[in-house]
Symmetry: C3
């Protein structure tokens, strides 16, 4: 009942929301989930760690999408880096997951 | 010090919050974490990708729970699908994690 | 192009935000991501499951950081438990991920 699949996570600036959404759907994602996030450090805006992050400073966005096909997940990751990460802060990574109802991914 | 465990993630409509919460606790989860999320595509409400998702449109909810016991995680995943996903949008998946203090999961 | 790395996740009380942030950066994390979360059960405040969690009750915080070095991720996990989890609610766990541009982690 459980099938191997690949979750791709993209964390980047909120201004890219529509561009990344469209890229995901264009490259064969059947869906994705969106989180409001904040952050610090190399991959984020360089706000000082000395003060807390107020909720209104959650200026970044995290996408998660699951794909049955490993090659497709890799292609999306590469494309995201090429298209956006020379100019915008962001990271992308893959994780192995197990899904129910594989035909949906 | 690190022990294998299984994280179950459930993404579904906010209206199911209490039902899913109760199912998780009834089936032996010792705790869970809750995220406000938005989304697009097959597993989500079919809002168009052409416009952004405003924070007030984060109408879905993501549960994460960790279980030491793989069979229990699988039972919960199956039960969630059977109980809810004929009628509600949602996905469920498992991931392998490593926890500290295994007796808490 | 994809390199193994380790994601550490810490879920704890919001009051620890600055302390955990500083510990992460001091112990060699190059960045981290922050989520507002709610929760129930052993690792969380003991709010009853019988009622829903309003967004203003998202009183906990989840940190995620990725490290190339497994030993460093383990050291951070141990340190978090020692420093905080005798007195505060919280959990910590590790997951294997695959990153692009490994030098950033």
């Amino acid at each position: 009942m459980f099938h191997e699949a690949w979750k791709i996570t993209i964390i980047t600036e909120r201004t890219l929301e529509q561009k990344v959404s469209r890229l995901l759907m264009d490259m064969g994602c059947k869906g994705f989930t969106l989180f409001d996030v904040g952050g610090r450090g190399l991959h984020h805006f360089h706000a000082p760690v000395e003060r807390g992050i107020a909720p209104e400073e959650f200026t970044e966005i995290q996408f998660e999408a699951i794909l049955q096909n490993r090659e497709r997940a890799e292609s999306i990751a590469r494309k995201i880096v090429q298209e956006f990460f020379d100019y915008y802060a962001g990271i992308v990574f893959l994780e192995r997951v197990e899904v129910v109802r594989a035909e949906r991914f």
